[in-house]
Symmetry: C2
Subunit: 433 residues, 2 copies
Amino acid sequence: MNVTNNHGSIDSLAISPLNKGLGAFQQPVTAAEIKALNWNLLREDLSLPTAVLYEERMNHNLQWMQQFVSEYGVKLAPHGKTTMAPKLFARQLAGGAWGITLATAHQTKVAYQHGVRRVIMANQLVGKQNMAIIADLLADQSFEFCCLVDSADGVDQLGAFFQARKQQLHVLLELGPDGGRTGIRNPQQQAAVLEALARWPDNIVLAGVEVYEGVLKEEADIRGFLQHAVACTKQLAKDGRFAARTGGAAARPVILTGAGSAWYDVVAEEFAKTEIGLPLDVVLRPGCYLTHDVGIYRAAQAQIQTRNPIARKMRTELQPALQLWAYVQSIPEANKAIIALGKRDAAFDAGLPLPAAHYRPGNPAPDTTPAHWQLTGMMDQHAYLQIKEDDDIKVGDMIGFDISHPCLTFDKWRQIAVVNPQHQVIDVIQTFF
Amino acid sequence: MNVTNNHGSIDSLAISPLNKGLGAFQQPVTAAEIKALNWNLLREDLSLPTAVLYEERMNHNLQWMQQFVSEYGVKLAPHGKTTMAPKLFARQLAGGAWGITLATAHQTKVAYQHGVRRVIMANQLVGKQNMAIIADLLADQSFEFCCLVDSADGVDQLGAFFQARKQQLHVLLELGPDGGRTGIRNPQQQAAVLEALARWPDNIVLAGVEVYEGVLKEEADIRGFLQHAVACTKQLAKDGRFAARTGGAAARPVILTGAGSAWYDVVAEEFAKTEIGLPLDVVLRPGCYLTHDVGIYRAAQAQIQTRNPIARKMRTELQPALQLWAYVQSIPEANKAIIALGKRDAAFDAGLPLPAAHYRPGNPAPDTTPAHWQLTGMMDQHAYLQIKEDDDIKVGDMIGFDISHPCLTFDKWRQIAVVNPQHQVIDVIQTFF
């Protein structure tokens, strides 16, 4: 893969000295140059609060998921909205991912500009400027792209736009459960969308079927919904609805895709053996596995490790690879420390960050934190840490926090340092939110 | 004020075509160049979702607050953490603000690099790299800076660092109420901090007293706490504790400062007439007034308009100046539309965004939205809009949302378009989070 943008390779992208969470430098530097600066988190070379990615853990997770999908013979298009870090996209693709999933036209443009050439935009493409962004990228014949449709209005708007541009857009029929988010709910809606597609035969190509099962909470409901998606895909194949996708010189396999980060094992089980009488790519789209967490996704993964035979057989688990580090800035009451970390720095919508490591500058190594150290609240720039009266904690100590919900943590940082187990900064990834 | 950074003036900062929420351009452009591109929100020239600032409303709010503090004869140091937009800092300073308040060393560096030369860092300065950032800025003698202290440990760490650097740091004694956030709670703690300050007479200068009253909820408690701060400041003056600040060739007034965006009127009333027998600057630090909102700060401002005689006399009110715009992407159920707007785009910790305007591309102007259109939930990239079965709403319609909590909305955007009442883009501000 050609990991470049207008400015050269990802490693030569300039990182601004005005970004938070980094060490001292005066002029923009490249990620390649940062390694040579030899920063170490525990030597206080970084301005805290900061976010760090643990290289070994991230690599472990990357290989874990690739092995998992390989066991099922399905393909992986990790959801890139989680990290929005093209350097991580490149590692996922180099590690065997089939493509990258994204949520918006803007995100797709960012990925394309950094070398990604196969994208599922797991969302409807709406609006003149967003359609123009995608149309411009599709001028590159090597760029494989599809997005979702779930309404006749949406199809007609796409049809009119891409007809005027004399271009062809590939779309997936999105199915959704009652009470869910987007997606076709019933046969009448589906018929209306198929009728609309028939109005734009030269410009809108039906490429497959998409679901997001994560809006459901019960395994039985999810399996039923996934089986409905399989049946629907078979029927569409039987009815010849994928002819434009699979015929002709530019023929491509039909796509059947689902899976967020909580139920990808069940989607693999339900989708893997699907036969529709046409070439078919089954594609899973988890995004959070790369960094994992100790909150909602640890809980979800524990379920997967319990219920899924392949995951059990692998005998290793995903590891939390993203941490936040911040200083104790005040201990104004005997049982309360104030940490210089806030909603500006960490996700807080699915549980607050969890104290994991305690380091006093000058000590040989961090300690684990006592179980009773817990955040009880966060403001924009502060967190409340519950402690006990005689705990060994001082202003100026550093606390490392594990997180819950990587997506809303990544988007607080324009770059994140990658560290080795000795907390040496060995790389920097940039984000594009 | 010299509004420049290493790259030239704020208007010549390059805006990346990879940022979300803008119109079409291929190479980095300057804010000055963007005006010439003649984008209009309602002509769908921007990629939605996007955030826009209404120029007239922002100007109105800026003047409103400046008039308010002038009536009390106090000074304004707007909290810059809200917007982290140096171009808005420059407008606040040009409009009469005394300085800018910030929360971290990183934020202070960003402000300094864009020309701000007087900063209250309303926080403890902790950690080697953070101290180094401030020490580097203090090499510029024209830079006036002070931060907070509330512990002897903190003072000693600052003392050791700035003594080694042979520099002088000005600090404010932070007072905090029991059950609150940072700040000295009792006379024993205060004595310990003052003793610590006495250990570093050449390097740490006591410059005044600071409070953040916003952790309290009742007016009577707040007035009591503020009166305590006034009494404390008087006693410190009487005890000669400000001698290093007010004496010598580089003498400056003592600072007494408080006020978030909810109780600044009460702080003005309690602090304005303070006499300590020394030159004194009373400084208020609200941050959210510039854009205001229709949530927590509208509610807080309504209280101010009711209880404060100056606010009543002014006869105008703050206006919400920040909106988010997004497309209807799906109407999968009769009473539910899915909007392409999510937690990645808007604050959600103090109420969800509120639908305000509905625009169908091609129509002459937006309509106000029916009162029953309400967001019922938000995911990372989607929002659920409650509608009724026969409402006139279509996929591809644009919805403008007012917001609650500007701070956590600004930090979702690397730049925000400034528009006139015709929704023409007349400027762009960049943020540095």
